[in-house]
Structures are given as C-alpha cells and as structure tokens.
Symmetry: none
Subunit: 206 residues, 4 copies
C-alpha cells in the first residue's frame, strides 16, 4: 500500500538562517541514520539533534521521507560528481587507462561516506519516492553509456545500452559487496586490477 507522501522539500530557503537550519537537519539526519539506523531515527530525535524545534523541521520538510530523500540526493550527487569528473579527465586516454580510472573513481565514490551509503542502501525502505536510491545507478549507467559511445570504435559490444548496463551494475555490485563483506578488497590493488580486467576483456577481447 504505497502511501503517497510528499517528499519534495517544502520551500527553498532564501535567507541565510534558513539554509543553516536545513543543513543542520540534514547533518543530524545523516548522523542519526548512521548511529541508530533508519527505524529508530525519528523526526523528533532529528530535530533535537539539529537543535531545531520539531515545528521548524516541518517548516522545511513535509515528512520524514522528504528529509531522507534529500539526503539521498545530496549523497548521490557527490558520488556522481566524483565519477563524472574523473571520466572527463581521462576521456581521451586509451581504453585500458580510462577504464582503470573509472574503476578507481567508483571505489572512491563509494568511500565518500561509506557508513551513510550502507544505511541508505540497506535500511531505507525503497518504496514510494524513496526508490531514489536506484536512481544513482541510472545516472551512472547514463554516464558510462556516454563514455562507451566515445570509445565505440575501440570496443566489441555493439549494444551499448546493454554494455553500459553491465558495466554500471557490475561495478556497483562488486564494489558494494566488497565494502560490506570484504572490506579488505577495497584497499587491495588486486581487486581493482581484477575488476578492471573483467570489464576490459569484456569490452575489447578480440
């Protein structure tokens, strides 16, 4: 029974003070999410930690989900920026190089705030507007698709949609699984190497 809940921030703070309030709420939310998990993160707790009255909180966000949604967006944007920037930097480099850089960028993106990322992925219920989490992947997929287009003549797969899909999700899955289950992998040269190899062979094997 997917309740339809307003999840867009209620208003764009125009004054300095407001922006601080919103910031405080988001920071507090992230903190509590990480420390206590999604379920026990109540709006009252968030308001308290943010040093804001519960009334004010609802002045800026129409619901708990709206706060979390905003948080997700912010976090996602940071991750995407990292990947996008790196991809731009190496767009002219040969496939081997740029692909390796892409892998590295993804690992780094995951490292921005792994704890928050984990909670966002594992605990936030992906119903209603909160399926925003999945949106990151869509954006990453788009980024990669654009990258593949540029390299079109150096790679074998012709169905770029499919190839981008495979690259994006493979990257995401392996890095995320490593972050959760085998954190050692992430500081391990071999892991990045192996993932690069996996993707490189897929793209260009004779």
């Amino acid at each position: 029974m997917p309740r339809s809940i307003r999840t867009k921030p209620r208003k764009h703070p125009k004054q300095e003070r407001s922006r601080e309030t919103v910031e405080a709420i988001l920071t507090a939310t992230a903190h509590i999410l990480i420390k206590e998990g999604y379920d026990t993160a109540s709006t009252n707790k968030i308001a308290e930690r943010a040093g804001v009255s519960i009334g004010s909180l609802y002045q800026y966000f129409p619901s708990k989900e709206a706060i979390v949604a905003t948080l997700i967006e912010h976090h996602a944007q940071k991750m995407i920026s990292v990947i996008e920037a790196r991809l731009e930097l190496v767009s002219d480099a040969p496939l081997e190089i740029s692909l390796r850089e892409l892998v590295k960028a993804c690992v780094q993106a995951n490292a921005i705030n792994p704890n928050l990322h984990k909670v966002l992925i594992e605990q936030v219920p992906r119903v209603g507007q909160l399926e925003k989490v999945t949106e990151v992947e869509k954006q990453v997929t788009a980024l990669i698709r654009r990258y593949l287009e540029e390299k079109r003549d150096q790679i074998q797969p012709q169905n770029l949609d499919l190839a981008a899909f495979i690259l994006a999700h493979t990257l995401e899955a392996l890095i995320h699984a490593a972050a959760l289950g085998e954190p050692a992998f992430l500081v391990n040269e071999q892991f990045e190497q192996e993932v690069t190899t996996l993707l490189l062979r897929y793209l260009k094997c004779n």
Copy 2:
C-alpha cells in the same frame, strides 16, 4: 543500535494442526510482503490473513523478524538448490557449456518467486538476523568457488576466492538489476549470452 531480537522459531509443532498453522503464517507473510511491503506487514495483519489468532502466531514465532527470517531461509534454500543441482549436472562439461548453464540456473533461481525475492532484497532491512539475505550470496559464492576449483586448470585467475566473489556478485547483480529495471532482458537470449561472455572472457582469456 542493533536491537537483539529472538528470531529462532519458538516451538516445534507436535501435532498436524500446528504444522498447518505455521505454514499458513509463512504463506500469509509472503503474500503480504509482496503486496504491501515489509514496513506495513504487521504481525496482526499476517495473523489475520493466515486465518490464525495473533496469539497462535506468537506461539510459533517470537517476533515479526523471526517469521521473515524463516521465510528468507526457505526461499534461499530453494534458490540454492536450483543452482547446486544444475552445477552438479554440468560439472563435467567444458567451461563454455557449464558456465552458460550456471548463468541460466541463476536466472531460473531468480525466477522462483521474483516478487518475494525483490521484497526480500530491497525492503527487508539487513540488520540483526535479517542479514540472512546476504547469506545466500555467501553460499552461492562457496558453490561457485568449488566449481572453479574443478576447472582450475582451464581458467586464468589464480586467486579463486576473488574470482568466485566476482562471479557470484556479478551474476547476482546483473540478474537482479535486470529483473528490476529491464525485465525484458531476462527473456532475452542476448542478455544471458552477454553475461556468459563477460564471465567466460574473464576466466579464460588467453
């Protein structure tokens, strides 16, 4: 603040009647999970749909989490059986063949009850005993690792742990992402083909 909650079934039904009760509870839970999601699946709702009193529910399960945990175990067992059986069948076949079969088996395992699988993966918070969701992947990884051992001399990667990790999670991620975002892929020969190619090249390229 991970609450520790009893999740082991409370009582072993001794009479036929009670076995039916337990079954009804699990079926009802699956149904509600699929229809309404994890969060709104309350024990009262489950009991009602199961045609069982809330008291009976708590006679057999000490908590909501315990029910879901049992459900996860059952579902996981089914999925693993499918993969395991298939892997046994094709263990003697050459890499190309058996790998393709593995991919197919995984797709089929995902098709056992895709809706339930989706909820279990996406909505059930992976805290406490509910992180059992992750355990499937561990078991699948182990299965694949054993398979790779047998093929050791036909494949290139030497670190079998890492290779199994990569295979398992790549498979899981791509199939799952496809099931969610691009269901067309799953009835699409090309998708299975492409995934097989991805993994095959990784394993044996020169």
Copy 3:
C-alpha cells in the same frame, strides 16, 4: 473493579497421582514466584515447570489466583502451626518466659520460607480472595488473645482485644521489617530481647 474469581481448588484429589500433580503445581508456583516474581509467573510457565500440561493445571485449579491462594494457605498454616505449638508448650510458664518464647516462635515462623513469604507479602495483589494474606494475622491475633486470656491476672491491659491486636501486629511488623530491611537483626539476640522487653513492659508494667 475487584473481579470475582473462583479461588477454591476445583476438586479434592482423591487418587495418589492427582495429589502428586497438585503438589507439583504448588511447588512449581512457589519456585517461580520466588525466582521471577508474581507478575511474570504465568500459568503456562507454572505448568511447564510442574511437568504438567496447562490443561491439567486447570483441571485442579480454576485460576491462577486459586493456585496462589492455596499456596498462601499452605504457607500460612505452617507458620501458624509453629506458633501454636510453641504457645501450647509454654502456656504454663511465667509471662516473662512464655512471651520470650512467643517472640522466638514468630521469628522462626518467619524463617520457614522467607523468600516465599516476602513475595507473598510484597507482590501478590491483595484484591479479591487474595486478601487471604491478612488472614494469617487474624489467626495469630486469635492465638495470642487466647494466650492473654490465660494470663489475664498477670497482665495489666484489660481490653484483651486491643492488647492482642497490639501484640500480634507489633510482632508481625517488627519481624517482617527486620527480615526485609535489617536481616542482621534476626540473628541478633538483642533484637529478640528488645522486642520481648517492649511487649513485656506493655503487658505488666506495674
């Protein structure tokens, strides 16, 4: 809203087996009452510990309160017996001697099962038929009144009802308060001495 609840044992067990069952239930109840307190002592727990099915328990006792009431009666009877027997023994002795013995007997009565006694006094809600607890005091008062009658010409107070009331409750209160708050008093000669003095002076002071 004092519910009226049946508290008399449902039937007098005539066969040996039945008597054992009843005994087991009472023993289990006492044990659980002591270990876990009144509130968490459920009939199911009692039945389980007694090695008896919950159905059988209700064959012999119509309610939880009935079990506790029986337990209280048994316990009270034991306490009264101790006091009664001692009083009989020393009925011919002079006031000084017999009074001291009375005090000692009361202390000993309290020592029969202090833990059970404590729970019975402190936790069992004295509503409904359960005000049985108070009945002990009434019986003790009667006992003491009879004793005072025999000593009528050696004592000063003329209102024997009042005097018996005072003796009985003073004894009960001091011993009980000591048992709870100052257990050291109970193994302390001085305490018994002082209580005896208190009552003796009251009874015979010039």
Copy 4:
C-alpha cells in the same frame, strides 16, 4: 527477574499547559488506583481519565511505574512533612507529651489520603523503583532517631538505631492495621492512648 524500567519523569514541562497535564495525570492515577487497584490501572485508562492523550502521558512519564513512583514520592512527602512539623513543635516538651504527639501525628499522617495510602502499601508491588514505598519508613525512622537523640538522657534504650526502628515500625504497623481492620480504633482515644503507653513504657520503664 527485576526488570529495570525507567522511572524518572521524562521531561520537565516548560509551559504552564504542560504542568497542568502532569497534574491531571497524577490526579487521575491516584483516582484509578483507589477505585480499581494497581493491576488494572493501565496507562490508557489513566490518560483517558486525565483527559489527556496517551501520547502526552508518555511525553512526561516513561512508564506506568514512573507515574506511580512519582505519586508515591508526593504522598510520602506529605506524610513526612506532617510528622516532621509536629516533632519540631514538641521537641522541647517532656517525653510523655511529645511521644503522644508523635503518635497523633502519625495517625494524622495516615489520614491524609488513607485510601491512596492503602493501595500504595498493599497493592503496589515493591519491586524496582516502586520499593520507594519502603523509603517512607526509612525517613520516618530517621526522624524518630533524631528525636530520640535529643531525649537520649530521658530514655533507657541505648541502641538508638534499634529503638528508632522499633518505634517507627510499631507505629506504622499498628496504625495501618487499625486503618484496615479496625477503623474504629482510629477515632478511639483508647487506641492512641494504648499505643503511647506501649512505646512510652518501652522507652522509659524504671
């Protein structure tokens, strides 16, 4: 298995409105306790009678026990004040006079809200923080001990701890038992007289 339950009031009301709420809750609790007893006094019933939402109740008290504990404290404070004030008044009077006044003060203290007192003493299980009930007696004992110190040279018992213990508990027990079983005693000059005599003789005989 003494559960540890928060019993300190949750939040200090800052506005006038909330002070009224807290007051209403306490009044309602006292009323229900008296009318229906401890066991059936549920938080929902209390909130309803207080004309307050259950949510508000939990805003100020973390549990049923906390409400009752607060009630006990308030009631105890009132009783103690009465006794303390009287004792101060008569501290210079001779033993005979002041002791009689002490007895009277105790009777009066018991008359503040005898029904509430009865419930508090008889039905509230003395576990957890609820053993505050006993604390009154400790405070009264301390009061009496201080009184005895002042009279030290007029009395015979040397162990003032023991003597205070005996006085306090004898008083409490007799008054309480009278209130319960023989209410006539309390309006009866003879009763107060007899109790005074009992204690006076104990303190100063020869």
